[in-house]
């Protein structure tokens, strides 16, 4: 079972504080991490490998420093890493990102299963996984919350929908995007870290891939960002403080009044 997990390096935002005056994010010293939602993809890929054999290859397209994300994944138990990096890829939107990832995956060789994260926490689109499946014409299941069975030729999964779940069977090779519910990511081990440090990670540049140049980077991206705003978070609503029974009564009455005025009740 050859499994490929495309991962993305994103800015770490868990400790980011908001500047309440300007409503902007304070980004000082923000570190880069593996997209948190990709950890679930890595974990389930390792689990499938552990029970069915094979190799897990993590790939990322990004700046040379994204090498770090790949090594973290190797430390968790992935076998190989591939870095896709070239100035010409910069500025890619989801279409162009997926285009390049597909070319890289084709170069890596025979694949049975591709497992992507649900979405990246920076761009927040969730489009790259379905994009890859579409371009490679692989059967696709998105929002997968459980793998029920894997055979040599098929995979049975549960997919989260608005109404509950649905069970699908896909022939292999196939592509899944997975949600948090699917697994609990393991921590890197010391041995894993040592191995990760020693592993040779090849870098693919434009010259290594069979790509059409005008499909790359900003040029190859159909979408354009025209404007970025930082919305003000503060709403400045009314605040009641409860200190005793009387103020409790007042606060609750105030809330009910408020809800009536807003036609909530």
């Amino acid at each position: 079972m050859n499994i490929i997990v495309p991962i993305k390096q994103v800015p770490e935002t868990s400790n980011v504080k908001m500047d309440t005056e300007t409503g902007t994010m304070m980004r000082d010293g923000v570190e880069s991490i593996i997209n948190p939602l990709d950890l679930y993809a890595i974990e389930i890929a390792i689990q499938v490998k552990e029970s069915h054999g094979g190799r897990v290859t993590v790939v990322t397209m990004g700046p040379p420093s994204a090498d770090k994300a790949l090594r973290e994944a190797l430390a968790m138990g992935c076998d190989d890493g591939v870095l896709i990096s070239d100035r010409k890829f910069a500025g890619a939107d989801t279409w162009s990102t997926a285009y390049v990832l597909v070319k890289a995956i084709e170069k890596i060789g025979a694949v049975d299963l591709i497992i992507a994260g649900e979405r990246a926490t920076d761009g927040d689109t969730g489009q790259v996984g379905p994009n890859i499946a579409s371009a490679m014409d692989l059967p696709l299941a998105t929002y997968v919350s459980r793998i029920d069975a894997v055979t040599g030729t098929s995979i049975t999964v549960e997919r989260m929908t608005e109404e509950g779940y649905e069970k699908l069977r896909l022939p292999l090779p196939a592509l899944l995007t997975v949600v948090k519910e699917i697994s609990y990511p393991r921590l890197p081990t010391l041995r894993g870290k040592q191995r990760a440090r020693k592993t040779d990670i090849p870098t693919y540049s434009v010259a290594d891939l069979d790509v059409v140049e005008n499909h790359l980077g900003l040029t190859g991206s159909p979408t354009r960002v025209v404007k970025i705003e930082t919305p003000k978070v503060t709403r400045g609503g009314k605040i009641y403080k409860v200190v005793d029974d009387h103020s409790l009564e007042e606060a609750v009455d105030g809330l009910i009044e408020f809800m009536k005025k807003k036609e909530i009740i």
């Binding site: 579409s134 989260m160 896909l170 948090k180 605040i239 809330l255």
Partner: protein, 332 residues
């Protein structure tokens, strides 16, 4: 052939249409009016009730393109994608909007990739650029910390998924007339590789937090799972559903489909209650666009109060019982 007209993708579920199908039409109507073009609702599915199909017209569509077949009863992206691409090839719409639901967010990138079209995810605002007539698509990104406006100047159609609940359906107008165009499903578009084996209902009615007008969410401040009963009592009194912070979900007090935030769902209800939730940015990412936000928290410095329209600094175990009790009298 020139690209013309605005399409919205209707979503069917068990013979009925989902509410998002109508929300999209109010978005589409505005754009179509501005462009002075036709608004088309595209419905791909099994059999859907006649009167609901008519309702698409009564709520804004000029035309319904209907591709109905028992083989299309279940959403299977490979087939749906081929059907939609076939329609696009034949009719060349200028804009396609779908809901940012699990199926919309699967179908649209599948289609966009193959036709090399620009696609913007989970938009909360749409407009037309005056000079170019391009679609301007605005969406929150980086956990809701920025709002980005995006366009696809050179590729057609311009495609976007739109956040459910971010607009209201138009009033039903029974006098509105339009065309229902049935297009036969051609079997060579059928891709039978993926098999739908079973539908497993979420069990509790509480699961669909994205479609509810009222979401009552609890966090770590709820202390234990039994206390979540207080939230469902409150929610039910108002016809709402129960959501949760990640901390509450991780502790097993609520289920993952109920999680609101960066690694959970994004909701845009009429009213969002944050009860015993501190308001970490990852949580705010999932609920900041709610129409009205109400917070209850013991900590007056909790971030959640900054985004609240109404806040009570107090112990939820005092506030909730009294609120539920008083509410019961009001709604009766």
């Amino acid at each position: 052939m020139e690209y013309k007209g605005v399409w919205t993708i209707a979503e069917a579920h068990e013979g009925d249409l989902k509410a998002v199908s109508f929300e999209l039409l109010s978005r589409g109507r505005k754009l179509a009016d501005e462009l002075e073009e036709e608004l088309v609702s595209v419905l791909i599915g099994g059999k859907v009730k006649e009167e609901r199909v008519k309702e698409l017209i009564q709520r804004g569509a000029d035309r319904v393109i209907l591709v109905e077949d028992p083989l299309l009863d279940r959403f299977i992206v490979e087939t749906y994608s081929k059907v939609l691409i076939d329609l696009i090839d034949k009719k060349k719409p200028e804009i396609i909007l779908s809901a940012a639901t699990v199926n919309g967010r699967t179908l649209m990138p599948h289609v966009a990739m193959r036709i090399h079209a620009g696609l913007t995810a989970d938009c909360t605002e749409l407009g037309i650029e005056e000079t170019t007539r391009n679609l301007l698509q605005t969406r929150p990104a980086i956990g809701g910390n920025i709002l980005a406006t995006i366009k696809s100047p050179d590729s057609r159609p311009q495609m976007a998924t739109v956040r459910p609940k971010s607009s209201r359906p138009l009033e039903l107008d029974e006098s509105r007339e339009g065309v229902v165009e049935r297009i036969e499903f051609s079997r060579d578009l059928y891709d039978d590789r993926v098999k739908h084996l079973e539908t497993i209902s979420g069990g509790e009615e509480d699961i669909n937090i994205q479609e509810s007008d009222i979401v009552v969410s609890g966090g770590k401040g709820m202390k234990k799972i039994d206390n979540f009963k207080m939230l469902s009592d409150l929610a039910h009194a108002m016809g709402g559903v129960v959501g949760a912070s990640r901390d509450a979900v991780d502790r097993g007090w609520a289920r993952y489909p109920q999680q609101v935030g960066l690694s959970g769902k994004t909701v845009t209800p009429n009213v969002y209650f944050a009860i015993g939730i501190s308001g970490a940015i990852q949580h705010l990412a999932g609920m900041k666009t709610a129409e009205t936000i109400i917070a209850i928290n013991t900590d007056e410095d909790a971030t959640i109060f900054q985004v609240s329209d109404f806040g009570i600094v107090g112990d939820l175990f005092d506030v909730l019982p009294l609120l539920t009790q008083k509410l019961a009298k009001e709604v009766k």
